[in-house]
């Protein structure tokens, strides 16, 4: 049996960089910032560097504190409700900013991003396909 999915957006990512990297715009109130984030189906939430939260005018440490486990350690992050736009698909969700300002990772994870989309990946062609789930 064949299965068919329909997507509104296609992005060819840069194969020279580690991971599947896409441009994303974060918006909180009147402030917004554009950054590069990696798509990570293994991440429960969307996680961004502490500095991006500050640039959005958020008091990062006043957000919802959450502890995450990794393969060999754990880290803390603070949740804030913001909008994320990737290609032309915008979602609003609680995302998390690392408590530790030295962590240099930005990931688009399941809650707040992947769970709002139809998502396709053809890594052989470095191509990502997405659509708003409700459209």
């Amino acid at each position: 049996m064949d299965y068919h999915l329909r997507f509104s957006e296609r992005h060819v990512y840069d194969s020279r960089r580690e991971g599947i990297t896409v441009p994303a715009v974060l918006t909180a109130g009147e402030r917004r910032i554009e950054l590069l984030a990696k798509i990570d189906t293994g991440a429960v939430d969307c996680l961004f560097e502490h500095g991006y939260g500050e640039a959005l005018g958020l008091r990062v440490e006043e957000g919802v504190r959450k502890t995450y486990a990794t393969a060999n350690s754990r880290f803390e992050a603070y949740g804030h409700e913001i909008s994320i736009r990737v290609l032309d698909v915008e979602t609003t969700a609680t995302v998390y900013f690392f408590a530790d300002g030295s962590i240099e990772k930005n990931v688009l994870g399941r809650r707040g991003w992947l769970d709002r989309l139809r998502f396709g990946l053809v890594d052989y062609e470095q191509a990502v396909y997405i659509s708003d789930y409700n459209k």
Binding site: G19, P23, L87, E104
Partner: protein, 145 residues
Amino acid sequence: MIDKRNIVHHSRLTSSAAAGPRSRTPWLGRERGSARSLVALGSRVDSPAAKFLGRKRRVNGCAGSVPVGQIGPQMGTISSRSLEQDWIVQHQAEYAGVWVALEGARLVAQGSSARVVLDAARSKGYEQPLVVHIPSGPELPFGGW
């Protein structure tokens, strides 16, 4: 008369992603020399097939964010930021650990925090630059969480 034995499929000639250092198309290396000369020759030939391939290439072959079925970016669509990513690849050792604001291949601001850099870029008229924290060391393979 064109000798079709030497024609290389257009997708092998134009995929910028495939030409990168992590290419998964090793046959490209062998054909690259002949592909260049064919491209040079092909540019002198005006044929409907060439025009069709050019259109197809713009839709499917270029790195970037292009709504499926449309040619070129739409207003309001986020850029693929491919020029900015080229800049990062070229300058990451030089700017390791620094926050930078980029617009196209241009560095518009740099500093010690995203907020400082974003505000500096906006004061220069760049409303939505790409703001990146250049990794402080070589980007190691990420093993997942």
